[in-house]
């Protein structure tokens, strides 16, 4: 395996871990609010969250690139704070991944909250448990495996990112060159041997991620006892 491939692999795993951890932290409270929100704007919020699922990555990439320019508020604030620009940087592709993988983390959490709400949260409200007690001592423990599956889905999806990273990050080894781009490079250069090796590794990591995901999903909610081990 080439050294540049190894660097790309490490960078990809780092990107996937940072993205999915941040997404779980961001999405958990939002999913809770959205699951409890019954207003008429609910479908609009849900649609905004699901948009990255249907929009082409190149479209997202294009507008992110525009937003990252030092002439925009985001680009300017970022430049003043860090001294770097967002486009073609690791921070930039993290921001892009956060948007790109958002629905994959948000959806399982929303489903989890809806399920817990109808079965357990409503009963706990009636019994007279306060909001903070329900959130910290009931919802978080009950949604433990949902959080894990949201994390692994976000992780696995970020691993396969290509178009968006290429547009906003370019192809800088050690900074923005992720595995999918390195693979693309090998194919372009007709280096099929290296492409096969990298594909195999990516295949193995993704497979393991998905196996873990389905394993967490099997033990739905934080059930104890017989059900959990089935």
């Amino acid at each position: 395996m080439l050294e540049t491939d190894f660097t790309a692999l490490l960078l990809t795993v780092k990107l996937a871990i940072i993205t999915s951890v941040l997404l779980v932290i961001i999405c958990f409270p939002i999913a809770w609010l959205l699951a409890n929100y019954k207003g008429r704007f609910k479908p609009y919020f849900e649609a905004i969250i699901a948009l990255p699922l249907v929009l082409p990555p190149t479209l997202l990439g294009f507008y992110l690139l525009v937003a990252f320019s030092p002439n925009t508020l985001l680009g300017e604030v970022w430049h003043n704070l860090t001294g770097h620009q967002l486009a073609f940087s690791f921070s930039g592709i993290i921001l892009g991944s956060l948007i790109y993988s958002l629905p994959f983390v948000m959806q399982p959490l929303l489903v989890g909250f809806n399920q817990v709400n109808s079965q357990y949260n409503n009963a706990a409200i009636a019994l007279g448990f306060s909001t903070s007690k329900r959130f910290f001592f009931l919802l978080i423990p009950l949604l433990k495996s949902t959080i894990l599956s949201a994390f692994s889905l976000g992780f696995a999806h970020t691993l396969g990112e290509f178009g968006l990273v290429l547009m906003i990050g370019g192809n800088i080894p050690g900074e923005t060159q992720v595995v999918s781009i390195a693979l693309y490079d090998h194919v372009e250069a007709l280096n099929y041997q290296a492409a096969h090796e990298l594909s195999l590794i990516l295949f193995a990591i993704s497979f393991i991620c998905l196996v873990l995901l389905f394993k967490f999903n099997r033990s739905n909610l934080g059930f104890r006892g017989k059900n959990a081990s089935n």
Partner: protein
């Protein structure tokens, strides 16, 4: 004193209920499915929109459910699956409000007879076992007003009696107010002090249980029943029976199933009684009580006899033909044969 004044538009009717209860009283709410019983509890507890509810002269209508000083156990009230049975009970003790009645875990466990279930996983419990633990958890939240929605629907009568007795005990000794919804008149008659009948959201009756339950029975033509109070239960293990004496009386009864930790009170269905003018010595019926016919009521397909057994009332339902054949008048002494107790 808890004052309820609810006027709430629901999907098919308006829920319109006004009543007040002293602290430590058990109110039974009776009515057919869809009469608004659960909606009534939801409105009192604050789960549904704010309604006029006053507790100890303080208006609590605008308070959130956790600030009202009451617990509502919903009909579908599950145990928390990430904890075992003891974990569920400890959860209630740990997270209950500070100003509660501090009901202890041990006391509750022995009161309800659930010590053998403590180390079980929630998923391994039967429906009836789950209901007992859910009820224990509600009690351990320690609120002084407890609202129960069909809490014992999965339990048989013997197990139910013990829990109903526990409610009576807690109301009397810990001054807890209970408002309990049930579609079993027998269950409510057994433990409630006051009864409320709901029909299409309207409160059609409210008053002392004995009177209201009698009226409902007459109205619905359902099986009448009465309760006999007794004392001094003695176990006759060789016959698998318990011998008890009626209160203020020399007469005795033999009971099949008896739980030490339940009220000394037995429910007798009116159609499980037959009567005769003479004491029959050679009979297979072991429970015969001497009584006096106080009055009778002719209904469409039955005649209801009101009997007095040494100061306690007993209801007996007879077929009109049997009544004709018996040929008795009020004031006469009869022998009531109790089957299936």
């Amino acid at each position: 004193m808890l004052q309820i004044n609810i006027n709430l538009a629901l999907k098919h009717f308006v829920l319109d209920v006004q009543f007040e209860v002293e602290q430590g009283i058990i109110v039974g709410v009776f009515g057919p499915s869809g009469a608004g019983k659960s909606s009534l509890l939801a409105a009192i507890s604050g789960v549904s929109a704010g309604q006029s509810v006053t507790n100890r002269q303080q208006n609590i209508a605008n308070l959130a459910p956790d600030k009202r000083g009451m617990s509502l156990q919903l009909q579908a009230c599950p145990l928390f699956p990430h904890l075992d049975v003891l974990g569920n009970l400890s959860f209630a003790c740990k997270h209950r409000p500070k100003n509660n009645n501090q009901l202890a875990l041990n006391e509750t466990v022995s009161l309800l007879g659930i010590s053998d279930l403590l180390n079980r996983e929630v998923s391994s419990l039967s429906g009836g076992e789950q209901q007992r633990i859910v009820f224990a958890r509600t009690l351990l939240l320690g609120q002084n007003i407890i609202l129960l929605d069909e809490p014992f629907s999965a339990l048989d009568w013997v197990k139910k009696q013990r829990l109903l007795w526990a409610i009576k005990y807690l109301a009397k000794n810990k001054n807890i107010t209970f408002i309990m919804v049930s579609h079993s008149l027998k269950e409510l008659s057994y433990c409630a002090d006051k009864m409320l009948q709901l029909k299409q959201g309207k409160m059609t009756r409210f008053g002392d249980t004995e009177i209201i339950s009698q009226q409902i029975n007459n109205e619905q033509g359902t099986t009448h029943f009465s309760f006999l109070n007794f004392q001094q239960p003695r176990r006759l293990s060789e016959h698998n029976l318990t011998k008890v004496s009626l209160i203020d009386s020399q007469q005795v009864l033999y009971i099949n199933q008896f739980d030490e930790k339940s009220s000394y009170k037995i429910c007798v269905n009116a159609n499980d009684i037959s009567v005769s003018l003479k004491l029959e010595r050679n009979s297979s019926c072991i429970n015969t009580l001497q009584c006096i016919l106080v009055s009778f009521q002719r209904q469409q397909y039955e005649v209801l006899l009101f009997l007095d057994v040494d100061g306690q009332s007993l209801l007996c339902s007879l077929n009109p033909l049997a009544w004709q054949q018996l040929g008795v008048t009020t004031g006469q002494t009869l022998y009531a044969h109790l089957h299936a107790i």
